[in-house]
Amino acid sequence: MMPGTAPQTIATDIAIIGSGAAGLMATIHASDSARDLDITVVSKGAVARSGCSIMTLGFNAAVGPGDSVETHFTDLLRRGEFLNDQQLAWVLASTAPEMIDELGRYGCLFDRTPDGALTVLPFAGQSVNRHIARREQTGLEIMSRLRDQVLRIEPRLLEDVRALDLLRSDSGDVTGVVLLDMRSGKPIILSARVVVMATGGAATIYRVASPAREKTGDGLAMCLRAGAELRDMEMMQFLSVGLAAGPSRISGLLLSEVLRFAGGHLTNVAGHRFMADSAPEAMERASLEQIVRASYTEIVEGRGWQNDGVLLDVSHLGAGVVADRYPELVDRSRLAGHDLTTGPVPVAPTSHFQIGGAVIDADCQSTLPGLLVAGEDAGGVHGAAWNGGNGIAESTVFGARAGERAARLATERPHQDAAAGQIADILERHHAPLTRDQGTVPATIADRLKEAMWQGAGPVRTEAGLRRAADTIDELRDEAAQTMAPALIESNPRWHEALDVGNQIDVAAVVVQSALEREETRGVHFRDDHPDRDDAGWLRYVVARADGNRLELDSRAVALDRLAPGREEAP
């Protein structure tokens, strides 16, 4: 803390960190449960206009012909290769249809057939059509109407304010959170009966990544530093179609996996359709993980376009057809200096969704009293691989449950004091970059971190590669402890980059250590040195917990209470 300034203190009943679908659903449901609650929403970026919920294209819910909760649940487990927490997966599948109705009550429009039924679209990884969309604007539609609903509730909205760290009492309860107003540079101490963490994970820790800029793992790092358990952190979902646009910030923006199924060809720089080597039958229609691994291998072995991407080509479908069917993707390809209608576009595996996260129960209770976690920050729902449409469904379903649970807890839990010295420690640590007159540049550290993660902990992993990544992370951690930003507190982007990279390093370290632990291949986690799935040894999930500076890893057996491999008929 800057000497001599007493930080502003706010007491609230419920502190909600994040304004994506999970954060806003939590706000609405907490308020619906008990009108008189004082609710504070903290958002690092614009409310409902930061994070990734706004970019989503489809929402999975079992409402279509031939679909059922059981089928959705079974698809979740097959896709997740049985690593899922089955209770959480069941909650997702069984509550998603209600969520679609609820969003409708808030005024969300979804595409319908001429007779008024919801249109359900096919999607790879689903046995039945269940992808619900609003033209190409699903996330915008949902987030705009959720924001309207939140504006009607009038909670305290702290926009452009970031959470720095959780506060804990002497007995270990979470008692609030230390915030930093990014515009004024002033800290705020938010004392809360309950904290809901919903910051959307850390999928930004790779060289090519699709999420919004705020998602630097702040929530997961805060949970970790406070002592909460995280699970499945080795599981990071990549998509195969991130724009490879070199150093441009548009790198990682998505084209669509649909292009492969529409007849798109993937070639390396020599013009070879490389899927012929690993999947000669399926070719570009192979599974997402096969495509991601093959593309990754082409690029890291030097057969990529400008060492950056492989080439995705749909132009043989005809320029008119491509322009008609995929107007937004065509625009995006042109932004990157290429043209989907007339030729190939470089794409690379892009880090997209953080599958792992905080250990929670079905009401989003984390392993720390007073802390609930929802949405992409939570783990367990998806198991070892994620499917498009289940992300926004998870955020709304579990955000709602977190809100209801928070409302109940708020009546039971008093405000408590943080353990002595904690606030000063947190503020001092976060202000450190401003106090140095020389030091390292945070963006450079972030670039090296992302490169190390791509090289060593990406879609294809080995023990040696993971150990190299771990060593680099250790070095970067030391350098990140010496970052410098101009000594100015108002709107200081470099300061925030320094805080971001600290969190990214904390999360990346857990990803790498968890990946070392899992000596088998499952879902998105591919160990080239352990290429087979090992159900006898590894129907277990990896749990990580920080004890001071030490990371403790452990694995626990998955409770196969509804379905098990080989016993895959619906429960």
């Binding site: 614009a46 206009r49 706004i54 808030y106 915008l140 800029r213 441009s248 910030r249 923006l253 108002e490």
Partner: protein, 237 residues
Amino acid sequence: MAGNKTRRADSAATPSGNNGFVKLTVRRSDPTAPAVFDVPGAEPMVVLDVLLAAQQHRDASLAFRFSCRAGRCGTCTVRLNGSAVLACQTPVAVSTELVVEPLGGLPVVKDLVVDMAPFHARWSEIVRLVEPGPVVTASGGTDQTLLDSSRECISCGACYAACPVAASGRAFLGPAALARAAGDYAGPAARAPASVMGSRGFTGCHSVGACSVVCPRDLDPALLIRSLRRGRRGRFT
């Protein structure tokens, strides 16, 4: 689909003659801060990249906002050579000159960051008047364009900044909020409160149409306002 307009920065800008570089001039809130930057050009490059390069390599305190870089969040809106654009969706050719300013009509927080509070306050006022309702519509219905323009707003604020009535400091609710209201009143629950119809609302609109010209999403708030004023309140379904 209402995609994002991509205006190439080079069509509006003049070649700088400084080969391989982009000359960036930024309106800074501190008049003594450096305002002109030569940024090495790259392919591909968008206005956001130029701003980021200036911030990383020239002046770490240069402030601007962005989040999604996909044209969805509306937070990167700036004025480029006089017209509002999304910085993340506007390509830049090397050897051009860019003049980048904050959106007009809104208080400047710092450099290119404006305070969107007046815009949001008006939007909030509207949504508190409008009851959310179950709206069922067939996709591809008759008034689809009209309907979309009320729903696909990314709250970038460009229309508000461009509207001379909103900028005049009066309490006019502004294009985006009125378009939002028009969309709902045109739906099943069509009962517009007086404040929305009065001089702060639809009758306050001078039909300048600047909003629809600048909207980076090609939405048409002016059309919605006009149609509501004419009393055209048919259901969309």
